[in-house]
Every structure is written in C-alpha cells, then in structure tokens.
Amino acid sequence: MTVTASPATLEGGAALPRLLAGRGHRLVLGLAEHEREYGTLWLRGRSGQRRPERLIDMVEAAGLTGRGGAGFPTGRKMRAVAGRGETVVVANGAEGEPASAKDRLLLTYLPHLVLDGITLAADAVGATEAHLCVHRRERDLTDGLAAAVGERRSAGLDPVPIQITGIPGRYVSSEQSSIVQYLNGGPGKPTFSPPRPHESGVRGRPTLVNNVETLAHVALIARHGDRWFRGAGLPSAPGSMLVTVDGAVRWPGVYEIELGTGAGEVVMLAGGPTEDLQALLIGGYFGAWLPVEVAWPVRMTQASLRAVGGALGAGIVIALPGSSCGLAETARVMRYLAEQGAGQCGPCVMGLPALAGAVADLAFQGGRGRGVDAVAALLPLIEGRGACRHPDGATQLARSAIRAFIADARWHDQCGPCDGVRRAPLLPIPGDEEEDWSWT
C-alpha cells in the first residue's frame, strides 16, 4: 500500500494536513527538519512558565479523543492519571488492524511528532517512565525509532527517557491491557479489568496508554493551542484524523481528514472508486459494513457512525466493489479474527470459531435456508462475554455483514454461493509467515 498525504478541507474548514504536514517528501523527517516543519517544542511554554497540568487543560478544551479506536476523551484519561505519584506513559504503536497503516506511517516518517507527544504527556502526568510499543517483528520500525530516540537524547529533549518495546504481533496484543501485561513480564494477553491501566498499570502504577496518533495530536495542541485544534472538524467532534483508505479506490493510502468529513468524500479523496461500489467497511475489522447508499453521506465521527450501526474505529475505509461477495470477504476476516484470539475466555475460544464457521458455510456452501439464522443465533452468545473487546468487535462485523448484505445472504442461503466468492480476496489478511504466533 502506498502512503500519501494530500490536503483535504471541509468547506470553509481549516487547512490540512496538520499531522502529515511533514510528509511532502518521501523521507524520514529528522529532528532538525521536524522542528523546522512543526516548530520547536517548548515543554513548559516559551517563557518556561507553563505548569504541566496546563497541557491537560488544553487537551481537554481541544476535545481530543483517542484515535486508536475507542475514542475516549484524552484529556479525561490524562487527568485520571496525573498527580498520582510516579506514573507511567505508554504509547501504543502496535497497530493490530491489518487494514490500518496510519500508525506505521507516523512512526516511520514522522517519529518525532509521536515522541514529542510522549514527552509532553509524560511531563503533564508526572510520569517517571515512558514506553513506546510496536510489533516486535517490525524491525525496520524499531530501528528507525531507536535512531530517532538517540537523536533526541543527544539534543537533550526527553527528560523522561523513552523506551522502545517490541510486543508480540498478534491482533489482541495491541489491546491496552495486553500491552501493560507484556510490560509487566506477561505474555501480552488481555487481562480482566477493572483494575484498568489508569488505576493500576505498569508495575502497579497509574498508567496512561494512548495511541501514537493521539499523542501526535497532543504534540500539535501543545504548539498551537486548543482553539487552533478546534478550527478543524465539528464542534462536537473537533480536529483532524488519519484514515486508511483501501479496496476499490484509485489511490489507496493514508489521508488526513477533518472529523465530520463524509465517508464518500474520503473515498473521493483517494481518487474515487475504480468500480461500482456496493458497501464500505468503516472502522476496520472492529468496525461495520454499511451499504454504500447509507455509508456515502455519513460523517466520519463516532456519533454519526454509531447512529447508523457503524463504528469509527481506527479510521479505516475499505470500498467493496459490486462484483465482490461481502459475505466471502467477511468469512475470511472472521476466520482470521477467530484465530487471533488470546485463547483465554470460553465464549471467545468456542464462539468465534463457531461463528466463523457459520459465516463461511453461508458464504461458500450456501445455508439450505438456515444459514442466516445460524449466524444470528450465535451473535448474542458471544457478545460482551470476553475480558477484552475482541469478541464484541468480531460479532459487530458479522452482524453488520448480515445486515448490509441481507439480500445476498438470502440468495446464498437459498441458492448457494454467488459468483462474487470466486473473486480474489480484497480485505488484507496477514499470512502465517507474517504473523508472530508465539506469545513470549
């Protein structure tokens, strides 16, 4: 997948790109170029007067929400950790979504923006420890980040040293409790909560876990202020976000958009559809399929997508052409998700393979009139019954597939598979060789 940055504005909106401003040339942005592009970072304000808590006020006033998928208000998260003794900051760069590329893009080309954010967050919450976690298989990423951290160390930029940690490359290992467990010496599987990381995280200390894009936004808010941040997006969902656009579009890649941009506009930003589209998958494998007529006008905010049964997730938009079979695509992803569980909770261990099997039967065998009901019957048995959100995300995807492709599903159920199942798979599924199967 190519990574591109191109400006996009709502009518009368703010100038974008913001985060991707330094992506003009296809090079890693070094510290000097980074400061030239984004401005020098003053940890305590230009005059050295700013109290660390002032940043939390600014982030709260900016209305920044987590960009990793859950969309929790970042300021509130920071405040829950701040001033509670020796705290820990963890930047989550272990992009678990196979369809997402935005975190990798930031960490590869604009590492200092993320590292600025980590240092600012650590200062604001009084952290004595800061971690940046990425998948350990991605050696080029860890090497690049180590070089960037070294560059900053010689410039004396980070009062709290930032440690780069490679975590197991499984889907559920990028969940925040998994990361905390791994940093505590565990295998990197989700844990039962509460206590949540902000109560008791790395070594029992209050721990702030943020997605790397969220922290990059923090780095810009510290430079330009909350009013500048609110200059983009909607009053109820301010700022910009990175989206990964894939599927039947001319230029797949990572784009920066204002929150509230229509999903159709996002597709047009990526060069528009290459074929007639039947549906968009918004939010990735924890998101939902929406028929194209529903999805096209929907605004890219958590609230608007929730209202139509979707999810913003980590900002993924995949365009499904009319010639593909949405059920077959979903069946492949469901099988992947079932394999990617941590193997801890019964309903997930037993339920997801059963659900994946039911969707696969419907997609590839036909259901003899019972396939749709078989899928629907399994959903409530799985939802909300795991320690983490993995089973919930998987059921949401399956449910949305049945809803969005209901006519197709009935066809499969009565008459057997459609022609679309023979089309080459569209949604990216990491192969076994790319996966990091061991837990330790």
Binding site: P190, T191, F192, P194, Q344, C345, G346, P347, C348, M350, G351, L381, R385, G386, A387
Partner: protein, 130 residues
Amino acid sequence: MSHKLRVNPIACSGHGVCAELLPEIIELDPWGYPILRSATIPPALDLHARRAVATCPALALMLERQQAGARSRRLLAVTARRASRAAPGANGRGRRGGHSCGTGHGHGHRELPADEHHPGVGGRPADHVA
C-alpha cells in the same frame, strides 16, 4: 445497596456449578459457560449468589457492592476471603461463630448448607446483605 455479580471470563473454565446453584440468574451457553440474565442480584437471592461465588472451582465468580454514584467498587471477591481463610488468625473477628446463616434474613426459601459452604461469613458479618 444491591450486589452485582461478575464473571471473570479468563478464569472461568465452564464447570457450570454456578448455574446449578443460581439458576434464577445464571444459565449456560452451548459450550457450558455462564450467561448472566441480570448482573444485579435481588436481595432475596443474595445468599444463593454468595454460595455460587464460594463454590466456583475456578474462583471466576465474584460479587461486588454496587453503590449508586460511587466510583470505588468494593470487591467482595471470594478469592480474598479464601486467602484470608488460608491464613488462620488473620480473620479472628467474628469467624463463623455466632453467625447463623439462613436465619434472620427472612427469605430463606431454600435450605442452606452448613457454615462450611457459606461464603458470607469469612470474618466480616457486617457485609452480610444490605
């Protein structure tokens, strides 16, 4: 104040004891794992819920105090109690003695087992029923 029942899905290995002891609240899914019909335990079922919590072989079931508006949850997890039982002397105060279960609560519609199995007595009778 009511109590809230929670299952730790990581610890649960599907023995199904809880569904035997608390069929009013807990049913089993096709794979034998518990599904809670409602998390809030009505006072009439409180003792039975405690018994289910105490009997779970995987220590996966727990009862939490639910306080409206309060952020802090007080765990009444049986694990803590078993730990204190394992260390005799740590819970000398009111240890079982003098606290008869099943009587005095006015809702003993079922014969309760001997104190041995009563989860609510491990050293803090004050916790007993809101």
